[in-house]
């Protein structure tokens, strides 16, 4: 954000309007991403909403992308920064493939590369305003990790970003277990996404679930969850507080 309207007298320390530009606020943002390990690999879920402040402006934003042969990346936060990260990773994977030598970057390597990028930007006070979920399988080893916009990173069996940390992870802590089947894992993710849909105002009812196993990556077509609004308490909402609305 450069101070285009400022007069020369104000920025005498900075010549010719060369103000340093850095991210101060996010503009178009995505909400939570959830990731879990299951029997054959990793499952991730994210909705397709891109909010412009409080307006749900974009409703077909793909926030889950595959990286190379072995990894899946999900992002919440500033969408344009996510696109920038995808460009960095594209170049990384391209150079990796150009070696053409049978070695390839696995999810652990991509996760650590992203950590370095995010932390470096944070140190320059110009962060990439994202929380990233990175999952994948390589040589039978499942990997699931998270990186925040300030470079905090860790691995776990289940991770979530944003509101997902508060609403989804408690459910996952109770109900996740090792070697869940694909169907059970999808049910669990949908349960978490449904809670987020009810309670997170930036969530929309259009989501994608992505799966990565040793053999392949699939990102589902967008679909909606069934919701139920017929609770009796909704019939006369002001019953307990006359006069309110």
């Amino acid at each position: 954000m450069s101070l285009i309207a400022s007069t020369p007298a104000n920025n005498s320390l900075l010549s010719s309007g060369m103000e340093s530009e850095r991210t101060l606020y996010p503009y178009v943002t995505g909400t939570s991403v959830i990731g879990i390990k299951y029997k054959d690999g990793i499952l991730m879920a994210a909705d397709m909403g891109g909010s412009y402040g409080s307006t749900l402006r974009y409703k077909s934003v793909e926030r889950l992308k595959s990286i190379g042969k072995h990894s899946l990346l999900g992002a919440s936060g500033e969408i344009s920064d996510f696109q920038e990260i995808l460009r960095y990773l594209d170049e990384l994977i391209l150079y990796d493939n150009m070696w053409d030598d049978g070695n390839s970057l696995g999810p652990k390597e991509v996760h650590n590369y992203l950590t370095r990028v995010m932390y470096n930007r944070r140190n320059k006070f110009n962060p990439l305003w994202n929380s990233l979920v990175l999952g994948g399988v390589k040589n039978g080893q499942k990997y699931l990790g998270m990186v925040s916009m300030i470079g905090v990173h860790f691995e776990d069996n289940h991770v979530a970003t944003g509101f997902g940390n508060h609403l989804a992870r408690p459910i996952l802590r109770d109900e996740w277990h090792e070697n869940m089947s694909f169907e059970d894992a999808v049910k669990l993710l949908e349960k978490c996404m449904r809670v987020l849909l009810y309670r997170d105002r930036s969530a929309i009812n259009k989501l994608q679930i992505a799966k990565i196993t040793e053999e392949e990556v699939t990102i589902s077509q967008p679909y909606s969850l069934k919701t139920f609004w017929g609770y009796s308490a909704f019939q006369n909402p002001t019953k307990g507080a006359e006069g309110s609305w």
Binding site: W99, D101, G102, N103, E109, H111, N112, Y113, R116, N139
Partner: protein, 260 residues
Amino acid sequence: MFRNQYDTDVTTWSPAGRLFQVEYAMEAVKQGSAAIGIRSKTHVVLASVNKANSELSSHQKKIFKVDDHIGIAIAGLTADGRVLSRYLRSECINHSFTYESPLPVGRLVVQLADKAQVCTQRSWKRPYGVGLLVAGLDESGAHLYYNCPSGNYFEYQAFAIGSRSQAAKTYLECKFETFMSSSKEDLIRDVLFAIKETLQGDKLTSSICTVSVVGVGEPFHIMDQKTIQELIESFEIKEGEAADHGVVPDRTPEAAPMDI
């Protein structure tokens, strides 16, 4: 090799299409004391002959650890070798820092070869006068590479460089087909025998050689002198028996084992 008018600059081709400075650099490798490497599916063993300037001085260090999973043995200008090993260590640690994962040895070798090639194409530089045997592990198993001053690199099952390395190569050529499935102990034994070939008359003791190992589940390390001496002694006893069975072929010098 004769002195001629095309060998002053590394950037001058000869009419026969040769770069003499590069070839002279490869001569420097041949003058250094021997270094030998052998690999199996899971392990790589490097050994070098220790040359000391005089009895008063210590010997030159020729085997360097580059990372937990990579080590090198050098022959030629050891100063150049030291500088290159610093470069290799730096590359490995930078990769580990960014990716939390060991640099595949095949990629390190290519980076080293590209660095060597630069010196063959700049008029203000000279080629590195050192040959490196690079031993390392990556996802596809154990590897042994040889990096030339010319910027070429080759992968080997077994190789020897430096002075009198031809004798070692001859020994290795007989046995190389068995190396892939050899155990670590067999590899060490074979590398010690190969070192002995290059000594041609001098007695093989642990003070005259250095041996290092890297393998799956075993980080790169240089074996200590006492263990080497014990191994030499146990192998020499066995060699006395094996010579009767013709395991060691007749091309090797026919000295009785204990007389060497």
